[in-house]
Each structure stands twice: as structure tokens, then as C-alpha cells.
Symmetry: C2
Subunit: 213 residues, 2 copies
Amino acid sequence: MTESDLQRAPERVARRRRIDGERSRQAILHEAAQLATIEGLEGLSLGRLAEAVGMSKSGLFAHFGSKEELQLATIETADVIFAEQVVDPALSAATGLERLQQLAERFLQHVEDDVFPGGCFFASVAAEIDRHAPPVRDRALKTIGEWFGHLVAAVQGAQADGQINDAEDPVQLAFEIDAFLLLANANYVIMRAPEPLDRARHAIRARLALAVS
Amino acid sequence: MTESDLQRAPERVARRRRIDGERSRQAILHEAAQLATIEGLEGLSLGRLAEAVGMSKSGLFAHFGSKEELQLATIETADVIFAEQVVDPALSAATGLERLQQLAERFLQHVEDDVFPGGCFFASVAAEIDRHAPPVRDRALKTIGEWFGHLVAAVQGAQADGQINDAEDPVQLAFEIDAFLLLANANYVIMRAPEPLDRARHAIRARLALAVS
């Protein structure tokens, strides 16, 4: 070890601490996002999460400071997971119709894969929307609104490509597809069987067959 | 007052106490069902409900004994309200197609009328199904299963009447209509505007126009 290494040692230790801190923060938030789909985002107290990740409540408090900060950071983490698993790969498809089909199919697949143990994270959060503090509510609705916007934009893209009939109202068609996805998720969580996911796949195929120009 | 009246006085007092007790029990459960759609059935503690109805926690405890008994009685009460407002009048319609249309329309109307402040009681309870104790979960799923059964039976009735094409799978068609209703409820609770209810009405009309034989 040179003298210069020695001089930089405290800096390296600090950097490693930041990296470890960031890693452990991410691990905690991943667990929080999982837990929130079972116990609710409102059930996600620092005490309950501390128990789940095997940390002290004061250790968690050092990471997040308040339940609201924890909830907001948990939503951000769920958003990143949902973007990686569902939205981003679907939006990289070449045509509007493919983007629409992939948004739906990747949504169903992430439910079937139990990416979150209680089904779609944002459906869980939406179901208790009246219970959230305004900043938490607004942050959750941002992702929910963006999701619906992706469905509408994909329909509009498919219309621009000449693949979906111009007579279709993009918002109405997006509503109908989103409805099949939401009930599939709700019934999958109850039944733990693929049947409702297949019902949604069937419904979406039949609806798109009607919409194709 | 005759001697015989005098003899029966304690009996009358006891009967009046039972009636008052029953009335106040119903009033408490009505409040509990309302509250559960905002704070969740799991958020419905004896303490929280006592605060909402202005009773002591020990007074409530005398009525229900435990959180689980309170939850079960609350589901029963919500079931009675839902039957009165939605299911029973719809099932009294003369044909299968009318029963199907009325189940859907009366569902949407009870959401629009804010019969429960947090939207459909059973959608709220279903969204947190993993959190409920098994007896509570089973009781809630009974009503949810019966609801879906009514939709399927109405489709089958309409097929028997020759009003819906025999080629339609009754369970698939019931799934699609139920999906429109569930998303309408979820989005109404978020937006507090009739638009999603009208989207569902439009979707159901279009879907039934296809199914009519």
C-alpha cells in the first residue's frame, strides 16, 4: 500500500459505505414493495418492515425518516420493477398494435410470475387510495395514469399505422383492455390459478380482432 | 296498570332492550360497512369503530366480542345492502337478458350513488383478501362467488330465452362484463366523476350487441 493509497483509504471506506448503504436501501425497498401487495401500503410501517428485513426500527428510521418517505420510496421502487418487467420491453416493440398486445401480455405475465406476491402493486395501492396521504396518493396515481396513457398511445399508434380502425375511440378501447387486465389480476390473487389470466387473454384477442381495420 | 301488566313489565323491558340493542347493532354495522370501504376491513378495529359511532370500546366489545366477529357481521350487513340495492331487484326482471343488463346497471348505479363511500364494498374487501383471517376471507368470497354466479346464470337464462347466442361461453361473457364493472368502480373511486361508469355502460352495450343472437 502506497502513502497515496493510505491517504485515500478513508475516502474509499466512505464510498463503500455509501454503496453498501445504497444496496441495503434497495434491498429494503424491494422487500417493502413485496410486502405492500400483501399488507397494503398503509400496513407498511417502519416497525413491520423492520421485522420483515431483520433490522432494527431505528436502523430503518435512519434510511427513511418517516412512514410517508418509506411509502414514496417504495412506490418508486415498484415503478422501476414494473417498468423493467412490463412497460419498457413492451414499448420497444415496432408497431402500435404490438406495443398494445405486449403491454397486455407482459402485464398478465408479471402477475402469473408472482413478481409481487399480492398481484399488481399499483392495483393494490389503488384499492386503498382513500387511505393514502396526498403526496403518496399523487405519486401512485402518476404511475397509474402513465400506464393508462401507454395503452391509449399504443392504440393511437396502431391507428396511425393503419392496424386499428380509426372509428375506435382510443380511450374506450384502452379502458376495455385495462378492465380485462384488472379483473384478471384480482381473480388471480383470489384463485391462484391461471384461468382468469387466460380469460383476459381470450377477451383481448377477441376485442382486438374486432378493432383491427 | 293491572297486576298482570305489572307482572309482564320486566319481560317488556327485556324485549325493548333487545329491540334497542338490535337497532343499535344494525346502526353500528351500517357505519362499519361504510368505514370498511375507506379504511379497509382490516383497518376496522373495535377502537376505530367506537370512535366513529361515538361509543366506548367496551360497549362495542359487548356487541361483537372480537375484531373477527365484527368483520363477519360487517360483511353480512354489506351483503344485505348489496342484495337490496343491486341483486334482488335485478333478479326480479322477467328475462335473462334483462337480468344481466340490470345486474350491471344497478351495480354501476350503486357506485354512482355512493351507497358505500369507497365504492363497491366487496371490491374493497377482495383487494385486501390476503390480509383476512380464513373465516373472513371465506365469507367475503362467498358473496363474490355468488355475484359472479348471478352474471353467469343470467347469460345462461338469456341463452335459454334465445336472446344471447348459444356460441357465447357464459363464463367468458360474465368475466368480460364483470371486468368493465370492476374497472368502472376502481376508476370512479379515484376520479369521483361519472366518466368511467359511462365507459363501462358503453362497453357492456357494445359487447351485448355482439352476443345477441
